[in-house]
Symmetry: C2
Subunit: 177 residues, 2 copies
DNA sequence: ATAATTGCAAAAGGTTTGCAGGGGT
DNA sequence: ACCCCTGCAAACCTTTTGCAATTAT
């Protein structure tokens, strides 16, 4: 495989900035590096925390502003899974578009690709006379195995009361012990 | 065969209320009747306007509260198409679940069913060990014909986006005197 | 009579923006 | 220097909620 370290992404963002006459700043660097230090979805305020580990002076406003640039540059995708909280996905480079399944039991988000489904989407849009710009598929589902065997392969160790469908706490990026 | 007038829906809601020990009130009636007087998606404040045509005393708070009951009763579906504005769909009774295509050009929402796609969704969830509770598929797409011929078959005379990607610009319908 | 319901207005909660000072080029 | 960027806090916008009065049952 090729090396696809954070440096590459930063370079791409740098070029994006240059092409727009925008400037390279410490906050932007901290935010971008933080964003690509994880492979998970993250929310704006989560990113703020991570970015502040690199540069404590970063503010939430700049996180939002930089996130906007990252989305515009195509390096990050904005996903609206719940209604209240947007999450951002730094995996655009590796996977063009993926689908989301949200467990109604534990709130866990299972991210996956499905070629056949993707092709069908494209075809359906075509039938209607459209060309897909982007799509969002969100399946809310109940874990069959949990019901049948009492054990869910996707279920977290610390079980979460299945009351809410949008857990306020996704999980930390790296299990840092 | 069956009469499917608005009365039926109201009756069903009435029964839902009774079953919960809730009361039948004028605001609720105005709101529910307004909700089912259309076949389109609507937002909460749109519904407020319609409800007020039947009973000017209705407040936005009660619209939201009643909308919650309608969703719980299964008579109306809540859809989050954009991120900021929820829309509600009174067509649940006629079509169990439909998919949404949003035109990137005019903002129009094309609502459709697709058996094959629906089946595939179910199958995909199954492969992952889940049973679908609900799903949301939103395709943002550009009208091919509009680009090729300058004319879009789905383009309305007065394109009225049902609340889509107008973030914070409530543009007035007509520039009045 | 009793308790659910309502309207009002203020609160909430995530995201955006105005402004004056800081900093990249 | 020039003017883009930043942090702070206030503004925004839709949805929710506390409260006292109202009203269905």
């Amino acid at each position: 495989m090729t090396r696809k370290g954070p440096t590459t992404v930063w370079e791409r963002f740098r070029r994006f900035l240059a092409g727009r006459g925008l400037r390279v700043t410490a906050p932007r660097r901290a935010i971008v590096e933080a964003a690509f230090a994880t492979t998970t979805h993250f929310s704006a305020d989560q990113l703020l925390l991570w970015a502040r580990q690199r540069d404590p002076r970063v503010s939430l406003a700049t996180v939002y502003r930089t996130l906007g640039l990252l989305v515009e540059s195509g390096l990050v995708r904005e996903i609206e899974l719940g209604g209240d909280r947007k999450v951002y996905d730094p995996n655009v480079a590796h996977r063009p578009e993926h689908l989301h399944l949200i467990c109604a039991d534990c709130g866990r988000i299972v991210e996956f690709d499905h070629d056949q489904l993707g092709r069908l989407l494209k075809q359906v849009a075509h039938e209607l006379g459209f060309e897909i710009v982007s799509h969002r598929l969100q399946i809310t589902a109940r874990c069959e195995r949990l019901r049948l065997t009492g054990h869910c392969p996707h279920h977290d160790h610390h079980a979460r009361p299945s009351t809410t469908r949008s857990p306020r706490r996704p999980e930390p990026p790296h299990a840092g012990a």
